[in-house]
């Protein structure tokens, strides 16, 4: 965003300074031309004061000339007097050998000023009285072909570009500083969101300027809402399952009777109903993936589950060992992690004979700074035959397709792993039994 603003501001600045440069250039040219015109007019007026016409109509050339450059050869300042037919009556000594083109007569009392080639022509039409009743129309022309104008303009342009360039640079630096300062709160919000995603905090805590405070307040509301909704879905579905399963337990209490084989069918239907409820409840609850994923500490979840499950299987006296990388996190729903781990750990305790190994580590490949996760559960139980592995993983896509007696544990595990784009494999552990390996990819953000 900062780059975008900086690029936009730079282009605006360039356009603005370009236009300003052009305007200043034009204004300067106009004023330079006005100055030359004024100078040439003054010089013509000076000539008018010193020239005279004899009664026979011939010009009386003054000596000395009011402008010394008019007598100096190739001085680039020339004076010419034309009659009303455009014939040269007089030309200054400075113009000797110089071809004077595009000389034009001016109307009586009017002045012309034009640029001819590299020089400027100023002409002034004058009615000159000879004696008492005669007069002639003369055009007094002053020509300036000096480099003064060009030099002044180019010097001015050089200076203009230099100063405008420096101003642009200064403005750009200031703009970058202002942007950095102005966008600082946004950076802080981003860092806070990062912390939320890493489960280091629950919501945006910092105090921000009004505009961003509105945004952060809404993000907090959104996060809060999301979590509340998730809890509500879970509670509602839990309540629903609860209210269905207790009556099922009552029916089961009646149908589960060895002396009443006629109730066997009902008993099987009750089992199926229970599995469907269980499976669909698990799916529904864990489908509510939070938009704002939190990172869940794997070690804590594993230790809690381990302590609980070990209590249940205390009779088996299983020796369970750990290899948990500190700080390994699962990017997702805490309940999904518990469900996933609970089921595979319970299986390990169920099938393991005397040893279980839990491995949890970050995946080596990092994506966007968030690492994937590998979880392995080894046991020394009977294992799962190579030929059966695919079937075990495929099993339980729908609870009602299961054969009686099969748990839905692994089906739930598979559902969760798939939802997080993970890969679940069954291998042979070095302990001799099954190795359930799950690889979760780096969090998608």
């Amino acid at each position: 965003m900062r780059n975008r603003l900086l690029i936009a501001a730079t282009f605006t600045l360039i356009a603005f300074l370009g236009l300003a440069g052009m305007a200043l250039d034009r204004a300067f040219i106009y004023s330079a031309k006005a100055a030359i015109r004024h100078q040439l007019r003054t010089q013509v007026h000076a000539l008018l004061q010193v020239f005279e016409i004899a009664d026979d109509g011939s010009l009386i050339i003054p000596d000395p000339m009011p402008e010394r450059d008019l007598t100096r050869l190739n001085s680039k300042l020339y004076a010419v007097i034309l009659n009303n037919r455009g014939e040269i009556l007089w030309r200054s000594e400075s113009s000797v050998g110089i071809e004077l083109n595009q000389l034009e007569t001016a109307e009586r009392g009017k002045e012309n000023f034009s640029r001819v080639g590299e020089g400027f022509h100023y002409s002034f039409g004058v009615e000159w009285g000879i004696g008492e009743d005669r007069h002639v129309d003369l055009t007094w022309t002053m020509i300036d072909t000096s480099d003064y104008y060009r030099d002044t303009i180019s010097l001015y342009r050089r200076e203009l570009v230099l100063w405008l360039g420096m101003a642009a640079l200064l403005l750009l630096v200031m703009q970058a500083v202002i942007l950095r300062w102005g966008l600082k709160p946004l950076g802080a919000v981003t860092r806070e969101l990062d912390l939320i995603e890493h489960a280091k905090q629950d919501k945006i805590l910092g105090k921000y300027p009004w505009e961003i405070a509105q945004l952060s307040h809404r993000i907090n509301l959104f996060i809060e809402n999301e979590r509340r909704n998730l809890t509500r879905y879970r509670d509602t579905l839990g309540d629903l399952a609860h209210s269905l399963k207790t009556p099922l337990a009552v029916i089961k209490g009646i149908t589960d009777n060895k002396n009443r084989p006629d109730l066997k069918n009902i008993d099987e239907v009750v089992d199926r109903m229970n599995k469907i409820i269980e499976y669909q409840l698990n799916r529904a609850v864990s489908s509510q993936l939070s938009v704002m994923h939190r990172a869940v500490d794997c070690e804590e979840a594993m230790r809690k589950l381990h302590a609980s499950i070990k209590k249940v299987y205390v009779d088996k006296c299983i020796d369970s060992t750990w290899e948990i990388e500190p700080g390994a996190v699962f990017h997702g729903n805490e309940s999904d992690l518990f469900e996933f781990l609970g089921n595979i750990m319970d299986n390990a305790f169920k099938w393991g004979r005397s040893r279980i190994l839990f491995v949890c580590r970050s995946d080596g490949v990092a994506g966007k700074g968030y690492k994937g996760l590998i979880i392995e559960i080894h046991d020394d139980g009977p294992g799962i035959a190579r030929a059966e592995r695919a079937a075990v993983l495929e099993r339980g896509v729908r609870a009602d397709q299961q054969t009686p007696g099969q748990g839905i544990g692994l089906a739930v595990v598979r559902e969760i792993v798939q939802r997080y784009d993970g890969i679940l494999t069954i291998e042979t552990s070095h302990l001799g039994g099954a190795l359930i390996r799950t690889r979760f990819p780096a969090a998608r953000l």
């Binding site: 839990g238 099922l248 609970g342």
Partner: protein
């Protein structure tokens, strides 16, 4: 053995009570958390089966309060909520096992007997004392590997003695653990059943494993 069932669903509570009584347990039951907690604190319970979703007070609260009050007997959670977070919550509160509804009664019974056995410090489901063997899973009793036929109350009495071998057990304690609050308690019955048990185990009266300690109660001695 005396167990407490805390379950708000009347039919299920009734079924459990009946089945446990049929299998030789003294059963107290409660339909809400508060009464359940009262029973759990006041009666000499050997094991409690507690539903998590209870009116007045949740099952978790009942378990926590029982543990805070120093009650160490095993507790099985009976729950319709089968998610692991909920199971962990219950086990962390102090329960020893869980069973999700609906369930097969034999499964619950097996877990109950395993927990009772474990709480008495026995590692295997078959309890031994000399030539006597008692299988807590099948409720079969053997003497010199020959099966013995016992009535429900005789089995209960022998079971209680088998998990308390060598300890002095007062008549009141026996009454408390073998009868629930609904039973008519008659202390002479203990004497009668003990006499029958002696005869069934040792018809020739060559050994006297049940020692009567005047004014103190009984002791089931270690047999070789």
């Amino acid at each position: 053995m005396r167990i407490l069932i805390v379950e708000d669903e009347a039919t299920l509570r009734g079924q459990l009570t009946d089945k446990f009584r049929q299998t030789g347990y003294a059963v107290d039951s409660a339909d809400n958390g508060k009464i359940g907690l009262f029973h759990g604190l006041e009666y000499p319970i050997d094991l409690a089966v507690i539903d998590l979703g209870l009116p007045d007070m949740t099952g978790i609260e009942v378990i926590e309060k029982l543990r805070v009050q120093g009650k160490t007997y095993p507790i099985i959670i009976l729950t319709a909520r089968s998610r692991w977070q909920e199971k962990v919550e219950g086990l962390e509160a102090g329960a020893d096992d869980y069973l999700t509804k609906p369930f097969v009664f034999e499964e619950l019974q097996a877990r109950v007997s395993a927990l009772i056995r474990r709480s008495a410090g026995h590692a295997t489901p078959i309890l031994h004392n000399g030539a006597i063997a008692l299988d807590t899973r099948t409720q079969d009793v053997f003497f010199d590997d020959q099966p013995l036929v016992l009535t429900g109350f005789e089995y209960r009495l022998l079971h209680y003695f088998m998990i308390n071998i060598g300890k002095v057990i007062s008549k009141t304690e026996l009454m408390d653990h073998l009868y629930d609050e609904d039973s008519d308690k008659d202390s002479n019955v203990i004497e009668v059943f003990l006499g029958r048990l002696r005869k069934k185990l040792y018809p020739e009266n060559r050994l006297k494993p049940f020692e009567t300690l005047r004014g103190r109660g009984y002791r089931f001695n270690v047999l070789t």
